[in-house]
Amino acid sequence: MAAPLELSCWGGGWGLPSVHSESLVVMAYAKFSGAPLKVNVIDKTWRGSRGDVPILTTEDNIVSQPAKILNFLRKQKYNADCELSAKQGADTLAYIALLEEKLLPAVLHTFWVENDNYFTVTKPWFASRIPFPLSLILPGRMSRGALNRILLTRGEPPLYHVNEVEAKIYRDAKECLNLLSNRLGTSQFFFGDTPSTLDAYVFGFLAPLYKVHFPKVHLQEHLKQLSNLCRLCDDILNSYFRHGPVAFSSMNRNQ
């Protein structure tokens, strides 16, 4: 428990501590469970690796992927779910699966595949944080990885073409957002008054969609209509990430 925990992840912008969903999930969970994390933001120097981010390093372990990092933190006694019942724990697992299956393809598409968004926002942002000449290669590789994932999981043979799946994945994402909004209702967090793993995952996936300014915004518009989800993101940002820039989040308070 005393070993220093270092997290290397992508940096923030638009009022968020990180623009990358998976990094944001880990950062939020660490705040909720009280784990002392030292955050190393990836920048233009050659220090640290860029693949497989977020990565947690301790004295003798290197852990990647959010699910594994969260498990590791729980084993170190940093548990944000200690007040949940068994059924709520089961619900958490189910809702995370729902997020990954229904919402993630659309988020990946909005950031990495939609041409307007990718070339005007995502690519310049990431390229400015990667040293040359890797900045010419890595964003393209991340974009192709995202497209690959979307097509392999949602595309239908024999015509694996992105146009056919676009409408389907956005429809599924909107349905998923509606389901989350119904589940959240009027409570402050998904399971009562304290945030848990599910809140971390929802925050991680929704906050970049909510805050980043894109030219093509139709999923963002749908999200903004679900005021309880926006309120959840704003509450988490204000309570747990207050030392970050607050100008943008205060503009969007819906209370």
């Binding site: 059924k87 724990g89 619900d91 699966a97 239908e156 409408a167 389907k168 119904n182």
Partner: protein, 263 residues
């Protein structure tokens, strides 16, 4: 199916009642069908039984290629063909039969979430075990998958499918998982299902829903399929309420048809 095609099918579906000669197509039961496809097919059969809709099961070697989406099972009703449990549930709903109408919004959200959990963890674990675990691939999968076809087609098709599945595993981050990690994920999933089921008869109220059909399809198939080792079925056997659940659905809906017995 594209959105326009789906809307069109729903419109047509709503006008005709369920015919007597509705058929479900899957691969050959004895020699060809694999664990994951068998689970999916059983889930659809259970769902249709729960809705009291008659269905005849036809086994064809090329069922996978006949299906509009490339996945089995698919049903042929009237002059429409619909594949996979999700679209089939929608199709049946358009015809006026639904198991989940009595649920409120929060329960519907939970049901969808748990169905995704089963698809995300159980189905992916089954695919991993069948196609990425060398022992199972060599002894069971390759031989079964290509069995209706002559040499060299049987080998070519099996390798092609294996390559496709491995590519998908890599894209979703399961490419580097070991078998033990996969079995642990299965255990976690079963634990979640067991906790959600608790002491109830079905997952929601006293009536079964499509979630019950899906869980039954997967768990029953895992319990009754002979693999190279029993580790997968042992994980499920740890949860007695899941075993009781499978037995109950088998007795209520499949007494006449199912020959397999749970041990």
């Amino acid at each position: 199916m594209s959105l326009v095609a789906e809307a069109f099918v729903s419109q047509i579906a709503a006008t005709e009642p369920w015919p007597e000669n509705a058929t479900l197509y899957q691969q050959l039961r004895g020699e060809q069908i694999l664990l994951s496809d068998n689970a999916a097919s059983l889930a659809v059969q259970a769902f249709l039984q729960m809705c009291n809709l008659p269905i005849r099961v036809e086994c064809r070697a090329n069922a996978e290629y006949m299906s509009p989406s490339g996945k089995v099972p698919f049903i042929h009703v009237g002059n429409q063909v619909v594949s996979e449990l999700g679209p089939i549930v929608q199709f049946v709903k358009a015809k006026g039969h639904s198991l989940s109408d009595g649920l409120d919004e929060v329960q519907k959200a939970e049901m969808k979430a748990y169905m995704e959990l089963v698809n995300n963890m159980l189905l992916t674990a089954e695919l991993y075990l069948q196609w990425c675990d060398e022992a199972t691939v060599g002894e069971i999968t390759h031989a079964r998958y290509g069995s209706p076809y002559p040499w060299p087609l049987n080998h070519i098709l099996a390798y092609q499918k294996q390559w496709e599945v491995k590519r998908k595993m890599k894209a979703i981050g399961w490419g580097n998982k070991t078998l033990d990690q996969v079995l642990e994920d299965v255990d976690q999933c079963c634990q979640a299902l067991s906790q959600r089921l608790g002491t109830q008869h079905y997952f929601f109220n006293k009536q079964p829903t499509e979630l019950d059909a899906l869980v039954f399809g997967h768990l029953y198939t895992i319990l009754t399929t002979q693999l190279t080792s029993d580790e997968l079925s042992e994980k499920v056997k740890n949860y007695s309420n899941l075993l009781a659940f499978c037995r109950r659905i088998e007795q209520c809906y499949f007494e006449d048809q199912c020959k397999g017995r749970l041990s």
